[in-house]
Symmetry: C2
Subunit: 437 residues, 2 copies
C-alpha cells in the first residue's frame, strides 16, 4: 500500500457532530475514494466552527494527503462557512460569480413560488451567498441549490480540496463532475488499482473467523500482502479484503481456506447482501412475498421494499402489533395465542400462513418476539424472537432465536434472520408440514 | 466558550470508515460529552491501522484536548488493536489481568454452549486477548465480552483516553462507569455548564430562519454570546442553541423573536420530537392508531413502534404495496383506484379509513406515493405523496406533497408528514367529512 495517494473526508455540521443528523456522506465517499484507487485514511466530523475546520484541513495537509473531500456547510445561512474557510486555507480570495448567481436564482424559483409569504430579500441574500466562490476554483454546477467547488492551493504544495454540499442526493449527483475534474485527476495521479473482495457468513461467532485467519497463515498464506478486516454486521460476519492486483494469488489462497472451513455458513462471495440474494431469488422464481410482523413493527416489509422494483415481488404485509390484529386481520386462531402465548413458534407459523393466505402470496413470513426493554419473563426473555417462513407448496422453516442488544438491535437483527429463512426456503429447504397451507 | 475542556471522539474500524457499518457511537457520545459540560470539537473515524490511530491521538493531544473517547477495536480478532495502540501512546506496558480473564470466560460460556463445534483454543485465545490491559489503567467491567479501560498518560501532560467497545449497546451500558471514573473527572475538572435549547419548525424553507436570525441581531440580540446552528432534518427545521448560563437572557430574547415570527410553524420548544408529541397525545387521549401504507412500505408503522411501550396505542397496520392488497386487505374500492390512480388523495383517504375500520382504531393513516426512481409521470412525478389521517369521529386531514430527494428520502420524509397530520388531528383540527367513517 506504499506510494498510493492518501485522501481524507471532512464532514462539517454541528448537527452531524452532535448526532441530530446521521452522516451518509462519509461512508458513500469512502466507496468512491476506493474506486479511484486512493487510500482513504480518515473521516473527520467537525462542527460549524471555522477554526475547527481549518485545524482539520491543516492536519490532513500535514499528513501529506493529496486529496480532501468536504461535505456540508454550503447552505444559505450564516453558519454555512465551508467555502470561506477552504478559500482562506488555499490562499484564494472569494469572488462573486454573477452568471452562477443567475443560475441558482432560476433553480430556486419554484421554491419561491411554493412559499408566497417568503421574505424576498432574505431569499436573494441566500442566493448571492451561494454564488461566492474562491478565485480560480472549478465550479461544480448545483444539483440542488448550492454549487460545489474544486480548489487547489494557490501557492502549490498541498491537497486539492473538493467542496460538496451536505444533502446526500445533491452530493452524489455532483460527484461525477468532481471526479472528472482536471484538478482531482492531477491530485491523484499515480493512484494504483485496489481490489476489494467481500465474503459474508451467517450463523457462527466471530472468534471462528479469527481462528481461520491463523490457520491460513500457518498454512503459508502471506496475510501481510492483504488488508483483511472482519466484522459483525446486522448479525452476519463480513470479511473484507483489500489488496493490490499482484496479491491476487495470495487472496485466492485465503479464500480457499475460508471456503473449506466455513462451507455451511458462507452465503455470499461476490459482495451480494442477503437482501440482494433474496430479491434475486424471488425475481428468478417469479415468486411473491407477504409478511405478518409483530415485534418488528413493519421493519421487514420496509426492508423488502427499500429497493426500487420490489413491487415485482412484494405484495404487502400486516403489522399485527396488538393480539386483536393478529386474530382479526391476519387470521391467527386465538386459541393458539391463549395456549402458547403471542411469542411462540406456533404463533409465528400462524402469522406466516396468515400472510400467505391474506395476500395470496407464494411465501409468507411471520415474526413475533420480545423486543424489550420490558415484557421479558424467565421463560421468554427480552431478545427471544420466533420466526417462520412458509411456502405455498407447504414447506416451512420455523426458528426461535435469542438476539443480543437493545430494542433497536433485536428488531433489526430479526429482519436479518427472517431474510435468511426466506433464502433457504427459496433454495428448496424446509419441511413439508402435515397440514399444508 | 473559553476555558472549557475540549474533547474528541475516535471511532475505529475499517468497516465503519468504509461505511459498511453505520456509526451510532459518535453521535451518542457527543450527547454525553455535552452533558458533561466539555466542548466536543471533533469525531474522527479511522480504519483498523495502528499508525492512523496513533496519528489521530497525537493530533488530538496537540490540540490540547483533555479527554479522548475511543470506540471499537476491542474484539477477539487480530485486527482489534485499540488497547495496544492506546497503551503505547500513553507509555504504559500491557499486562494480563487474570481475574478479568476468568470473568470474561464466565460471560462467554453461554456462547460456547450455543456453538458446540466451536474451536476451543481459538475461543480461549480470544478471551485472553481481551483480558490484556495497560498497566495502571482502570478497567471498566465488560457488558458484552470486551472490557473497557480508562488510561492516563504515564508521564502526565496529555489527554485521558477512555477506551470503549464498538457495539452501541455495550458502549452505552459501560458509559456510566467511565463517566464516574476518577481519571475522567480529573481530566475535565473545570468543565462549565452548557445549556442547550432546541426549537423545531415544520412547513417553511430554511432561508426564513436565516432571515429571523438577522432580524434578531438587528434588534440588538447579541448572537456572539450564543452558538446557534440551524438544519433541515427529516423535513423539519431544527434550531439548536448552546450557551453558557450567563447568556440565558440573550437566548430568551432570541427565542422571543423566533416565536413571534414563526408562531404557525414552531411545534416544539423543549426538545420533543414530533414522535414524542404524537406518542404523548395518543397516550393522553387514550387513542389507538393503525396505518395503511403503500410507498413507505411499513416505515411509518416501524417508526411508531420504535419506542418501548408503543403497544399501548399502536394496534398495527397494513403494508398495501400491491393494488390487490389495497383492495382485498384494506378494503379500498377498486373503482377509486381505476378512476383516480393508486397515488391520489382519494386512495390515501380510503387507505386511512380502511386502516381505521380494519383495526377498529381511533385514528387511521393512509400513505400512497411515487417513491421513485421509476414510476413517475408528468402529472404524478417522483416524490408526489398523498397522505390522509382520519379519526373515528369523522374528522379528516388529507394532503398531497412533492418531496425532494431519492427513494429513501421520499419514504422517510413521508413518515414525518404523516406524523404532523396525526398531531394536528389529535389537536382538534380536520374537517368532518360528509360521510363519516
Amino acid at each position: 500500500m506504499t506510494g498510493v495517494p492518501r485522501a481524507g473526508v471532512v464532514v462539517t455540521g454541528t448537527e452531524v457532530l452532535g448526532g441530530r443528523v446521521r452522516d451518509a456522506n462519509g461512508p458513500w465517499l469512502a466507496d468512491r475514494l476506493t474506486e479511484l484507487g486512493v487510500d482513504h485514511a480518515s473521516t473527520v466530523v467537525v462542527g460549524d466552527r471555522p477554526e475547527d475546520m481549518r485545524e482539520t484541513l491543516a492536519w490532513m495537509a500535514a499528513q501529506g494527503f493529496a486529496l480532501v473531500i468536504t461535505s456540508g456547510g454550503l447552505g444559505p445561512t450564516a453558519d454555512d462557512l465551508t467555502v470561506e474557510v477552504v478559500a482562506g486555507f488555499q490562499g484564494r480570495p472569494l469572488v462573486l460569480d454573477e452568471a452562477l448567481e443567475g443560475r441558482i436564482a432560476a433553480k430556486l424559483e419554484p421554491l419561491r413560488r411554493r412559499f408566497p409569504d417568503l421574505n424576498v430579500d432574505a431569499w436573494r441574500r441566500g442566493v448571492r451567498k451561494q454564488a461566492i466562490v474562491p478565485e480560480g476554483a472549478t465550479v461544480l454546477e448545483p444539483v440542488g441549490t448550492a454549487p460545489g467547488v474544486v480548489v487547489t492551493p494557490a501557492a502549490g504544495g498541498g491537497p486539492t480540496i473538493v467542496v460538496l454540499p451536505g444533502p446526500p442526493s445533491e452530493l452524489q449527483a455532483m460527484w461525477p463532475d468532481a471526479a472528472a475534474s482536471q484538478e482531482l485527476r492531477e491530485a491523484i495521479a499515480g493512484a494504483g488499482e485496489f481490489r476489494v473482495r467481500t465474503l459474508r457468513m451467517y450463523g457462527m461467532p466471530e472468534s471462528e473467523i479469527a481462528e481461520t485467519l491463523r490457520v491460513a497463515e500457518a498454512q503459508g498464506v502471506d496475510l501481510g500482502a492483504l488488508e483483511v478486516t472482519t466484522c459483525l454486521r446486522r448479525g452476519e460476519i463480513e470479511v473484507v479484503t483489500r489488496f493490490e492486483p499482484a496479491a491476487e494469488p495470495v487472496y485466492e489462497a485465503l479464500e480457499d481456506v475460508i471456503r473449506e472451513r466455513h462451507a455451511a455458513t458462507l452465503f455470499s462471495d461476490d459482495g451480494s447482501t442477503i437482501d440482494d440474494l433474496v430479491a434475486r431469488a424471488l425475481l428468478d422464481q417469479g415468486a411473491t412475498i407477504a409478511t405478518a410482523e409483530s415485534c418488528t413493527g413493519g421493519l421487514l416489509a420496509a426492508r423488502l421494499t427499500e429497493r426500487a422494483g420490489s413491487s415485482a415481488y412484494v405484495l404487502g404485509g400486516v403489522v399485527a402489533y396488538a393480539n386483536s390484529a393478529k386474530v382479526h386481520v391476519v387470521g391467527v386462531d386465538p386459541e393458539l395465542i391463549t395456549r402458547h402465548g403471542a411469542v411462540s413458534p406456533e404463533v409465528a407459523e400462524a402469522l406466516a400462513l396468515g400472510a400467505l393466505r391474506r395476500f395470496d402470496a407464494d411465501i409468507g413470513v411471520g415474526i413475533t418476539g420480545v423486543a424489550g426493554p420490558g415484557g421479558g419473563t424467565p421463560e421468554k426473555p427480552v431478545g427471544l424472537v420466533c420466526l417462520s417462513a412458509a411456502m405455498r407448496d407447504g414447506r416451512r422453516l420455523t426458528r426461535s432465536v435469542t438476539l443480543p442488544g437493545g430494542r433497536a438491535d433485536v428488531r433489526d437483527r430479526s429482519t436479518t434472520v427472517a431474510l435468511h429463512l426466506v433464502r433457504r426456503l427459496l433454495h428448496g429447504e424446509g419441511e413439508r408440514a402435515a397440514t399444508a397451507a
